[in-house]
Amino acid sequence: MRPLRILAAVGLSATALTAYAAGDAAAGRNKVYQCQGCHGIVGWKTAFPEVYHVPKLGGQNAEYIVAALKEYKSGERDFATMRAIAGTLSDQDMEDIAAYYSAGSKAAAAPAEKK
């Protein structure tokens, strides 16, 4: 009985992860070369127009990352570097990148716990 419960839990959580990430995290891993130089370095800060730490992305919600990238691309959210980078990304790129950063996030695991 116990192995069956464990199998069910793993199966449910795997379903939850794939259900929330429309993108492919494995594909995203090869698309984050533009991101790593800032968001992959602990302590990295912006320089202009204001100085602050760039946001941590590991464990962020995929849907939110995609929304933010779209806002940078459209100019609705104002930051020159991000606008330039987001401008090079297709919708699929954004989904894959978001899936990569959100992989293993607590939010992705939450639906399995609720079930």
């Binding site: 929330y20 790593q36 968001h39 992959g40 370095i41 602990v42 204001e50 602050y52 730490h53 760039v54 946001p55 941590k56 992305l57 590991g58 464990g59 962020q60 919600n61 995929a62 849907e63 939110y64 929304a67 933010a68 609705e76 959210r77 104002d78 950063y101 996030s105 607590k106 939010a107 939450a110």
Partner: protein, 106 residues
């Protein structure tokens, strides 16, 4: 003369080191309204709301100030920050940045 110049130079450079920082415990108390969307532990209740737990403290300050001055637009957040003082913003940032969650991912 040279000592004065040196002292002035040190004070000028160190000014940024004395930027005010928030009180995490006060921030925890002030975060009650935030929890409805951003969760009890800074992990959001919905996938389109950002997780805040463990986010960089100065980044949170930056974003809240930008919601306040309109440089970042979001109708929900604009309403939320309208009543926040600079002190509140510092305290909230101190609180959320100390929770476990977000990480730098290479």
């Amino acid at each position: 003369m040279k000592m004065h110049m040196l002292a002035a130079a040190i004070l000028l450079v160190s000014g940024t080191a004395f930027a005010a920082s928030g009180d995490a415990e006060a921030g925890r108390k002030k975060s009650q309204p935030c929890q409805a969307c951003h969760g009890q532990s800074g992990i959001s209740v919905a996938p389109n709301f950002p997780n805040l737990a463990g986010q960089n403290e100065d980044y949170i300050v930056h974003v809240l100030k930008h919601y306040k001055n309109g440089k970042r637009k979001n109708p929900i957040m604009q309403g939320q920050v309208a009543n926040l003082t600079d002190r509140d913003i510092l305290d909230l940032a101190a609180h959320f940045s100390r929770l476990q969650g977000l990480q730098v991912k290479y």
